[in-house]
């Protein structure tokens, strides 16, 4: 009953001051909504276990090359097999790789994302097929009849949900394959698989380096991720010692599937986002806490009367806490609505920065985890915002409050609390603003970087020669040359280029040995290596700096030649010509041919410009001398992309109906995708930055001006004692400056602890860091000085006698 009365009284007070209540509600909602949204978003994206039984134990093992995490199956098959046979910390291990599955139809072939896996993948996930069965162990043996398990969407879209699909023979990668099962809707393990094929045991007979795989596994009960990683690294070290030429710089890592698709640095961004959200929530709490504290001060006399009337201390504390409770619970409800709306939008937004459809575990919405987090955040905010006013109420001095005259000025404890609040505001806001600025500027620079290629009016597509017809390299070269001729014969097509990896995309990075350079026999550096059809570079705007481009005379029978980027030439032959120098791919021993540099081209970025790819030099070899069954085509058209696509389709059908084009995108889309993920994070940080700036300005100004306003009487005393206006201004400016400096030391320390590793990861230029570490403190300093000087000047405008009487 008493509680209800207190609740009613608190509600009445809040309703009587709608401006105050609305401000407090908005501030706390801003902080809570960001925290709830971010928690839910990152939880779904990176933290929640996979939606399978024992999902929390499921991990993936993949390779780590020179400290960079690779995902999607990049471990050398033999290394992975050795790992599998020796690892003690993991259970139910199985190897797989994701590859192309060209499924032929009546009209044309269509490319699906297939997973070639050891048979027990389905029992690993404890998932039964919707129709038929999954693989038997025998189906992975040499000579077993080819079988396939279809994904639900593949079955629905490509086979029209045919209920009699089981037993049907379909041509996959040129081989007649029997459909033995269909998996349930939503099952896409390991990542985005559309159909599954057995990984034949015979692949173990292939040469080292020919096949790359990943490994699914479960952590043994009681084993930590760190311990599993330690074991994987130690085994890789032994393998590296055994095969220094192929395994220099290679190691492995164990992580969850959710984290593996984030790539290197995903954990840093996650930590940073959580930190920033936490800081913003704290800022919001401090601001609302300060508002409530100011109210508690105004109500000091009322509290004293209550004490005089015999109110027990806990009732006074609860009286103050009720206001926090009402504001924070209302804020939580509003925040949930806002976060739910933002999560709905996020589902659409994330599709823009992933290749293909989003991962199956990315289900954004207000789930049970989010509700629990919201409850915890609400309790935290109630405590944080209500703590100071409640303390103030519980320790109020009845006598001094009830006496008409006061002893003047702010009490020592209140003064200290205000100083701590301001210092925390400065620390948190400077840290968040620097981190947000870092992310925003780095992303801006990354999205406006020159990759070294032209993208206007250029369409790209991937083409894979997966059938037996193209096993011979000469057949592969012949096909791609024919395709180029077919396309170039069309009047609407200006130029055609073909690369094993498009400039802008991550490329194969083998160890490269440079002739006449110091040679330890191992630890050769890795550079991008791209096969290219002669005549492909100039059409995409890659300029020649020295020597010549590749030509049709650079064929399988002629001297092995390469083009290198200026960055590589500068690295080994600064100030001299690189033409005529030689290099060798050292990934598989020293038996590959020496290749002679015949031209130097401008630097081209292969991969995300926020990664090591930014400065990684590249080597381009003619496809006739480095054949590849997969090439990407770039078609320069006259503005009509659909027409170009149609002509590509016609050309492919004319050459081979079973070869489809896939990953069809404009060249600009290909490059945009590199930065779409961090672009999204950057937009989030822009919101964080704006909210933080508003919270910081209003918070710092609110606390400081409240403090100084409450010291108006003290200003009157000082002036009565003969202080000049300048003395008072200097005093408060210096006090403000001290809080500013302490806050900045803490804030810059926090920003450095989190931001420097992020800056390193994003390849943020030093001038950006310097600018932020100077500019943001200056901005905060301006806010603090304004917050100090404006109320001080206001107090000084009063006559000393009025200031002395100020209540």
């Amino acid at each position: 009953m008493n509680s209800f009365l207190d609740f009613k009284y608190a509600l009445r007070l809040l309703l009587r001051n709608p401006g105050f209540s609305l401000l407090a509600l908005l501030v706390i909602t801003a902080g809570m909504a960001i925290s709830i949204y971010l928690y839910s978003f990152l939880n779904s994206m990176m933290i929640k276990p996979l939606p399978f039984a024992e999902g929390e134990r499921m991990v993936v093992v993949d390779s780590l090359v020179n400290g960079t995490q690779f995902n999607g199956g990049s471990m050398e098959l033999h290394d992975a097999s050795e790992l599998k046979s020796r690892l003690q910390s993991l259970d139910e291990m199985g190897l797989y790789f994701n590859g192309t599955a060209n499924v032929s139809g009546n009209d044309a072939a269509r490319r699906f994302l297939g997973t070639f896996t050891e048979p027990h993948m389905f029992s690993f996930t404890q998932t039964q097929p919707l129709l038929g069965r999954t693989f038997t162990a025998q189906e992975a043996l040499e000579g077993a009849k080819p079988v396939v398990v279809l994904g639900y969407d593949t079955w629905q879209a490509h086979f029209a949900g045919d209920p009699a699909i089981l037993g049907r023979l379909v041509k996959i990668n040129g081989e007649m394959t029997e459909v033995i099962g269909v998996m349930p809707s939503g099952y896409e393990f390991p990542e985005r698989t559309e159909l599954w094929l057995p990984l034949k045991k015979t692949v173990l007979n292939t040469n080292r380096g020919e096949i790359s795989v990943a490994m699914f596994a479960k952590l043994k009960p009681g084993v930590s991720m760190a311990a599993a990683n330690e074991e994987v690294r130690s085994i890789f070290k032994e393998v590296e010692a055994k095969f220094p030429q192929t395994n220099a710089g290679r190691s492995g890592y164990v992580t969850t599937y959710a984290m593996s698709v984030q790539g290197s640095g995903g954990d840093i961004i996650t930590i940073m986002m959580f930190s920033v959200a936490g800081f913003i929530l704290l800022l919001a709490c401090i601001n609302v806490g300060n508002l409530l504290l100011a109210r508690a001060n105004e109500r000091a006399k009322e509290v004293a009367i209550r004490v005089a009337l015999g109110a027990p201390r806990h009732r006074l504390v609860m009286q103050m806490m009720w206001e926090s409770l009402i504001i924070c619970v209302s804020g939580a409800v509003l925040s949930l609505l806002l976060a739910g709306w933002a999560l709905d939008i996020s589902t659409e937004v994330v599709t823009t920065f992933v290749d293909g459809k989003p991962f199956y575990w990315w289900k954004f919405g207000l789930d049970s985890d989010t509700m629990i987090a919201t409850a915890l955040i609400t309790v935290f905010t109630i405590f944080m915002t209500g703590m100071l006013p409640a303390l103030k109420a519980s320790k109020s001095n009845v006598n001094s409050a009830l006496r008409d005259g006061t002893r003047g000025a702010l009490s020592k404890k209140e003064g200290r609390a205000a100083k701590i609040l301001v210092t925390m505001e400065v620390a948190l806001s400077s840290a968040v603003l620097i981190l947000a600025g870092l992310m925003i500027i780095s992303t801006y620079l990354a999205t406006h970087i020159d990759y070294g290629v032209q993208t206007d009016n250029r369409l790209t597509a991937r083409i894979g020669l997966t059938t037996d017809l193209y096993e011979e390299p000469t057949a592969q070269v012949r096909f791609f040359e024919s395709l180029k001729q077919e396309l170039q014969s069309q009047s609407s097509i200006k130029a055609v280029s073909l690369f094993s990896t498009l400039p802008g995309n991550y490329a194969w990075g083998p160890n490269v040995r440079i002739e006449d350079q110091e040679d330890s026999g191992k630890d050769y550096p890795r550079y991008n290596f791209v096969s290219v059809l002669p005549g492909s570079l100039a059409p995409v705007g890659i300029d020649l700096i020295e020597g010549r481009y590749l030509t049709d005379t650079d064929n399988a029978d002629s001297l092995d030649v390469v083009l290198i980027t200026q960055s590589l030439a500068d690295k080994y032959w600064p100030g001299q010509s690189a033409i005529g120098k030689r290099l060798q791919i050292a990934d598989n021993g020293n038996d590959t041919p020496w290749r002679t540099v015949v031209g130097v081209i401008e630097h081209v970025i292969h991969g995300q410009p926020t990664s090591h790819a930014l400065t990684m030099p590249s080597i381009y070899a003619p496809v006739a001398q480095s054949p590849s069954s997969f090439l990407s085509v770039v078609i320069e058209h006259q503005g009509n992309e659909q027409q170009a696509l149609k002509q590509l389709d016609i050309a492919l059908k004319r050459l081979d109906r079973e070869i489809p084009a896939y990953n069809i995108k404009s060249y600009q889309q290909v490059l945009d995708r590199n930065t779409a993920g961090i672009g999204f994070a950057s937009k989030m940080f822009l919101v964080f930055g704006v909210v933080t700036l508003l919270l910081a300005i209003s918070g710092i100004y609110g606390v400081m001006s409240n403090t100084i306003t409450r010291r108006t009487q003290e200003i009157g005393v000082r002036r009565a004692l003969g202080a000049q206006d300048s003395d008072v201004i200097k005093l408060y400016a210096w006090q403000g400056a001290k809080q500013l400096m302490i806050g900045l030391v803490i804030g810059l320390g926090l920003a450095m602890a989190i931001g420097l590793s992020l800056a390193e990861m994003l390849r943020t230029p030093d001038w950006v860091l310097s600018g932020l570490f100077i500019g943001i403190p200056l901005l905060i300093a301006v806010v603090v000085m304004m917050a100090t000087l404006v109320p001080t000047f206001k107090a000084l405008r009063l006559h000393p006698s009025a200031a002395l009487r100020y209540e």
Binding site: T406, R407, G722
Partner: protein, 234 residues
């Protein structure tokens, strides 16, 4: 002939609140000589605190002349008034108005820190002397919150006299004190007066007013009585 220490002529103070005009002081003329001990009393709202504020240059009059040691001060700039407050006037407030962040010693030193003509050693010596006079030297390192009300007011008196002002202005100095502490503070003011200090005290406590050698009474912003006989007798 010596010039009076304070000389008010035809002083008016009008407050404007919304459309209401309040005449707090109405043609006040008053002279206070060096060494006087004057009490100003009257009912609440008669203008005594306003008069003290004008005497202390804490507020401006609406009209009239105010000479301090023969010099017109009503038209001085804020900065010049601050110098006069600092070097020629000492204040004792009803609510003590000590600064809670500063120790007793620092509070007393505060007005001296605004002066450029004193070295640190001189400041320390003047502070010690002032604390000695009010018998608070033993509490020099304490904070105001650690003192009783009476002790706080003694420290406030020390702060008022530390700069060796020409006049001490006290606004209800015993208003927040119990009778015992009030008596101690009044005894302290008596002693300071005996030692030569000029004191002007606003009070509505008849017992305090009785201790002054000259009693000025205000009513509705006017001087209605000015008993200088005691001073003449003295």
């Amino acid at each position: 002939m010596n010039k009076p220490l304070l000389e008010l002529k035809q002083i008016k103070k009008v407050f404007h609140t919304d459309e209401v005009e309040t005449h707090a002081l109405d043609n006040i003329s008053l002279v206070i000589e060096k060494g006087e001990y004057v009490s100003i009393s009257g009912p609440s709202g008669c203008g005594k605190s306003t008069l003290l504020s004008l005497l202390g240059l804490l507020d401006d009059s609406s009209d009239g002349s105010y000479k301090l040691q023969g010099n017109e001060v009503s038209s001085l700039s804020n900065s010049e008034k601050a110098v006069i407050r600092n070097q020629h006037i000492g204040f004792v407030f009803q609510a003590f108005n000590l600064i809670s962040d500063l120790t007793v010693e620092e509070n007393v030193e505060l007005p001296l820190t605004y002066r450029k003509d004193l070295s640190k050693a001189e400041r320390k010596a003047w502070v010690a002397e002032a604390l000695e006079k009010v018998d608070m030297s033993h509490r020099a390192k304490h904070y105001p919150s650690q003192l009783s009300g009476g002790q706080q007011q003694r420290v406030a008196v020390a702060r008022a006299i530390a700069g060796r002002p020409a006049i001490l202005l006290a606004d209800e100095p015993t208003g927040n004190l119990d009778s015992k502490n009030a008596e101690a503070v009044m005894a302290l003011l008596d002693k300071l007066h005996q030692d030569g200090a000029t004191i002007c005290m606003v009070t509505h406590d008849p017992r305090s007013a009785e201790r002054a050698k000259r009693k000025v009474e205000l009513f509705d912003g006017k001087v209605v009585a000015d008993d200088v006989t005691q001073m003449a007798a003295a």
